[in-house]
Subunit: 344 residues, 2 copies
């Protein structure tokens, strides 16, 4: 497989991206990594890493999309940016998977514009890994790409998320839950009620509504919600976890006795820190475009970049895009039939 | 002041409600508490408590609205229920404040039906205390009463919340924040954008959009959002905090060494538990109806009931309802003028 990596995307690029690529290349010798970006800078980093293998290639792209760039404008006006070049290579079959840690908005917009939507998908979307302390992580869709969603968008999110988890994470028959005010079907907005009805016809393991309280306990494999609610879930979880851990940390620093206790708890505290480390789960997919694209965190270290590459491989090899296309067309037929029956 | 208490509302009623009333009565001798409910049961509890004072009165109500009752039906079909009798007494001037730990939906619906909306308020709402670890708590409006909201509803929520915090919590010039995807005015849905514009004209200390990440750090005194998002914020915070503390607790129980450390940390861990204790902040107000109504948690202990009564007194004495009415009418004029100017 040929993996295209945006060498310039992320806060610490190209240093950490190249280092991550080198580490990954050592582990996945049967695959090739194509780093796109400023050739001289990337080659210099490869040299610093002392890379001796033959499964990293560099493709020059002279421009960079920054975090401050406006997504649509950047994609249109920076054809030589590493992100744009990488997406075009994916479109043109010069690679099988594209990863970037760059401007999220630009990556979503660029994927839509350059790769186009999958037939039958109305709205491509960015998913996000939702870490559950003490449980396997969930996949949350939509992570914030579109504030509002119609029922058929939510259905798309759930279907695509389910296929992704099964094929890329290797979790069979993943459960799909719809974020709602309560477990009863009658709860929520007109949109969630309509989505609930559609989900019951979809070829996914739909477990119904899930309340936000259940999410941190791994309530379902795929968390479905609009981008506004998705943003609230992700950001609030992050903020609250940070706040609680800070308070705990301060309590451990109260006096000599608590400091001694903290010392005795060191292995457990380290473990706890590890549990919060999202990096090991890899990047987050853009779903619904004609090509596998993965976003990793802008602040990713080399180790996170490496994980994103290795864990992302099945997205490039498992025909996820084709399966989404077929499933969506089948589902549309089912729903049309149902609507005809309801009208009759 | 005469404080009307639904003696039968809550999981542990009338035992905990009566005990809470007795404790409160001892501290606020200048006020009278009227407990509404089954007279024999309440008098028996008063006797158990050994109450000797003269500032508790009992008013008989032979029926009870249960947690399973459907709100609208219950209010219509159970005219003798303690909640209905209490609300009617408040409406008829036989008391100055009403508190209940009963069925939340019934209390919201009953308040709307029996007390009616304040002139100028389109939608009464249930607020909730949002506890911030290490910071003063915020007031979140809407806590989940209505899944969807229009811009003018959000504006009402913010205005009413601001008046409540200033008058009842005694916090001057409270800050009002609109939950949104990002800090920029252009972010969010058409509803949040419209609400943002209106808030800038409102007589509140509007600090603009707040991201969910900032909420646990006490980002603003009044958190404004629709009931769907409010429910997600409240329930997710509860679930996540519980999950993190459970994981921490398990880590403390790993082996003898960690158990010893836990023992050394006992005072700090107790403190932490106290920080999570929402009961000390009192109950949550229903805002926008013609009378001060406070909801306390169904699982409230006597101590929580006592706190809800004592901390709720200013809601009965500070003319909050009148101030909301006047402020809302003034604001409507401002907005109408603005809209005329925009049309011109």
């Amino acid at each position: 497989m040929r993996i295209i990596l945006d060498g310039m995307g992320g806060d610490n690029a190209p240093r950490e991206t190249v280092k991550g690529a080198v580490w990954a290349a050592g582990e996945i010798k049967e695959h090739e990594i194509i780093i796109v970006g400023k050739e001289d800078e990337i080659k210099a980093e490869l040299e610093t890493c002392g890379f001796q293998g033959d499964n990293i290639k560099v493709v020059h792209a002279g421009d960079v999309i920054t975090m401050e760039d406006s997504p649509v404008k950047a994609i249109r006006r920076k054809p030589d940016a590493s992100m744009v070049v990488g997406l075009c290579m994916l479109r043109d079959g010069e690679g099988d998977l594209f990863l970037s840690g760059g401007n999220t908005g630009a990556l979503v917009v660029g994927s839509r514009m350059i790769l186009d939507r999958i037939d039958g998908i109305d709205r491509p979307v960015l998913a996000s890994i939702y870490p559950c302390l003490g449980y396997e992580p969930s996949l949350l869709v939509d992570a914030g790409a579109s504030a509002e969603a119609k029922a058929h968008h939510l259905l798309e999110y759930g279907l695509m998320g389910s296929i992704y988890i099964e094929k890329v994470w290797g979790r069979p028959n993943p459960s799909v839950g719809l974020v709602n005010l309560g477990a009863e079907e009658s709860k929520g907005t007109s949109v969630t009620k309509d989505a609930h009805r559609r989900f019951k016809m979809a070829p996914v393991h739909f477990i119904g509504n899930v309340e936000a309280r259940e999410l941190p306990k791994g309530a379902c494999d795929v968390i479905v919600c609009d981008g506004f609610v998705g943003n609230v879930i992700l950001k609030l979880s992050e903020g609250l976890a940070m706040n609680i851990l800070n308070v705990v940390k301060n309590k451990l620093m109260t006096n000599l006795k608590t400091k001694m206790a903290a010392l005795m708890l060191k292995p457990q505290l380290e473990e706890l820190k590890g549990d919060f480390d999202y990096e090991e789960y890899g990047g987050a997919p853009i779903l619904g475009v004609n090509g596998p694209v993965i976003k990793f965190h802008g602040s990713s270290t080399a180790s996170a970049v490496k994980n994103a590459i290795i864990k992302g491989i099945p997205y490039g090899s498992e025909n996820v895009v084709d399966i989404i296309r077929t499933s969506m067309l089948d589902l549309e037929e089912t729903i049309e039939k149902d609507e005809e029956e309801q009208d009759a």
